[in-house]
Symmetry: C2
Subunit: 469 residues, 2 copies
């Protein structure tokens, strides 16, 4: 999950003044369909399949940043898994970009009190050269303070932003913290800085640093940018409090190879509709991960949920009316490249995509559903909501769901969306770190969330509603 | 804290059949002394001093394994700090041993599914040579299973013990787990193994491995020994479940330099008794730490508690009757070397040590006090217990306190002891890792625990009881 998420949470925070009355309409599912839906729910709540899928992905593939051997393995793995799970069609759509290498990071406080610092290159950063760079630290408590620094005031210095992300069930602390990661290096460079270091965008207290994508600005010097772990940021702040110059060493062997084209692919599988095969219900996740953990939470469980949901539905005696399309996007972490390519191949048009939901927000239990549909289809959404209420999923009183991550691009192009919100209190303890591993997956929450996605997909594929209207 | 702790918890578990009736005796403190004791309690509960001391030690010194530059800095720091805090006498007593270098660790699963593993050399391990070693894994679920393996059955193999330490308020899971760390390499080598890897002795779920001391056995080949992080151990177990050979690579650049003598020192400070200066009330902690974290919990807070306790008492208008001796032991982690030297310099005799208490068990709140005193002084202990009850400290109904860590050697030589037990539920999340840093210190618990030690030291120094009897 990257910065598109910021927009998502901001939008969630600013509820529209659209009031959706919670009232039952006539049933849109037949009794037989309702029976099937309840059976699917029980299957998903008791099946180990989604856990088995994420266990398989993390154990047999592991980290899978675009362009790495892990990424290539993940594509093969996904195609094989979809075929094994009984999908009707499986195919890939190629995505290309240029290469970035992380390399190694080494960081130290040299003076007044030498200390080894746990650091990681931000995704896309240039390297420092083999000798590394040394400079005195200039400390900013947040990104605004860095922005307010005078031009030239950081010449020869290393800018350090110590802002600490706050913990929140919906991950709202991320938006306030991530600006430094994405744009901090460009801003620091404009003031003359030779490097940017920042406190990790994370809520944990581990000596583990959080990576994530950053961007340079046209015409501004590209300076190295790294995140340091929360305990190391604390220690650096404590040294700075002593009012002596703090000398810092940073070595990043990262490099941008903008002549080396690398290839990945979106992996797409379908359960073909029995009556309206050209109507697509899209459920998505991203197949890539950062290169440090095994991407269990981000986004292995999303991959597992949507694949297991489609499989459960494929086990029914008859296919639902509409097609269920599982889209495993490439290269989400480095800038939604898979989603951009998906749109490009369709000339920006997704009119056949009836509705879509992505999963890219950690392991917690889904507690809210926010539609982003035409007003006239809200009654149908309320029907779905009634089926989900017993699972603890409340219907939001806003109708501004935008689609998570990759699917946000499809939503922009007009695809109706259903956003599911989960408890993300602990998500940013692990996000974009080595610690994003299988043990963080809550098996029971995963079953619950798979049940929600299975029911959403089945319901949306059996009704004939135009969710645009 | 090392393996001496095992004995301590085992003994705590096996309560003796000595019943101590909880009944008030006549007050042994005068009214004026009681007033002073209450004032000291308030001072300790409100003062930031103990936090300031551990902040200073971790920020200005950091890691301090014996023989490292950090160790030398810590000794200077401790002498300076004791002088600044108003101790009457401060001195050092030299401790020597031979050198061990940790070097770097690199570990990988090579097949069937390549994966980078977070590993750390166990303290005292030999290295692998620059090329590292490769072998197939033989998996044992616990140390007993490894012990039961046939001689020669591990020839050319790497032994892996996956036993997971359990979480417990008193750290009781440590005893069952640490045997592999201390003796696993010797046992594995006897069966022909070329290396030992083990799941870290820790309760966390971080990609951070736990070090700790290990021992070789005379006449048995010294093989490299490393701990791997809990998530990596999980992944290795999951790969092994697939019943394919698992090939593992381990490189440790550790080395034993048994010709290189290194020097450290116990740092000792006293608040000299006003009436019985030759009667010593000992409060101790260990100054060294492992080389990976900043040793905030193990044992920075112990250092802070005993130094702050003595300082608070030194602020009184008059010294208590007996001498309060603060002992900051060297080289506890690598085998209680400072405590051994302390005893050696005193020809094994500590008859002038009236009673002692060490702190070496993390950041939680003290909830229990276990004496190890002569039966006739139990009434006096009950007096102390009554003062501590409002702080939530219960008097154990056993009288088998042995002294934590270093002080256990003094207890063996006859010194009465007072053991304080704290909530150690989370302690082994951080123990012997990079994650043992200042942010893990609970400021309020530290104040509380400092109050307990201050009151214990003052009380024991004002009464004239012979705790041996």
């Amino acid at each position: 999950m990257i910065y598109s998420f910021i927009k998502h949470t901001l939008v969630l925070g600013a509820f529209l003044n659209v009031s959706i009355a919670i009232a039952a309409s006539n049933n849109v599912l037949s009794t037989a369909q309702e029976t099937e839906l309840m059976a699917l729910k029980q299957t998903a709540l008791t099946s180990d399949l989604s856990y088995e899928v994420v266990e398989s992905l993390t154990t047999e593939v592991g980290p899978r940043m675009m362009g790495t051997p892990g990424d290539a393995k993940a594509i093969t793995w996904a195609v094989d898994k979809m075929n094994a799970l009984g999908f009707d069609k499986v195919w890939t759509e190629e995505v290309t970009t240029t290469q970035w290498y992380r390399g190694e990071a080494k960081a130290q406080i040299l003076a007044p009190y030498p200390h080894n610092v746990v650091a990681i290159a931000l995704g896309g950063s240039v390297g420092t050269g083999d000798k590394g760079i040394t400079g005195d630290i200039v400390h900013f408590e947040n990104f605004d303070a860095l922005k307010a620094a005078k031009k030239g005031s950081l010449t020869g210095k290393i800018a350090f932003v110590s802002y600490q992300m706050t913990r929140h069930i919906a991950g709202k602390g991320y938006g306030a913290a991530v600006g430094t990661r994405v744009n901090g290096a460009a801003v620091a460079a404009e003031k003359g800085a030779i490097a940017l270091i920042m406190r990790s965008v994370g809520t944990d207290n581990d000596r583990v640093a959080h990576t994530g994508v950053m961007r340079y600005k046209e015409g501004v010097t590209k300076i190295p940018a790294a995140a340091i772990s929360n305990p190391d940021a604390d220690l650096l702040v404590n040294q700075l409090k002593r009012k002596k110059p703090v000398s810092f060493y940073l070595k990043l062997t990262a490099s941008i190879k903008d002549k080396e084209v690398i290839t990945s692919a979106n992996v797409i599988g379908e359960i073909t509709g029995s009556e309206l095969p050209n109507d697509i219900v899209a459920i998505g996740a991203h197949l890539d991960s950062w290169d440090v953990g095994t991407g269990a939470l981000d986004d292995g469980i999303g991959v597992a949920m949507v694949m297991a949901s489609a499989h459960h539905i494929a086990q029914l005696p008859k296919r639902p009316k509409r097609t269920i399309r599982v889209i495993l996007f490439a290269a989400e972490e480095i800038g939604l490249l898979g989603a951009k390519q998906y749109m490009k191949l369709r000339n920006g048009k997704v009119n056949d995509h009836i509705i879509g939901a992505e999963w890219d927000f950690g392991t917690g239990r889904i507690y809210k559903m926010t539609p982003g549909v035409g007003a006239s289809s809200l009654n149908v959404v309320r029907e779905l909501a009634q089926y989900l209420t017993p699972l603890g999923v409340a219907l939001s009183d806003s109708n501004d769901g935008k689609g998570q991550s990759d699917l946000s691009l499809l939503t922009k192009a007009g695809m109706p969306a259903m956003n599911f919100s989960a408890d993300g209190t602990d998500y940013f303890d692990y996000h974009h770190t080595e610690n994003d591993t299988l043990d963080k997956v809550d098996v029971e929450d995963l079953k619950q969330n798979t049940a929600v996605y299975t029911m959403f997909a089945y319901f949306s594929a059996q009704v004939t509603t135009d969710f645009r209207k």
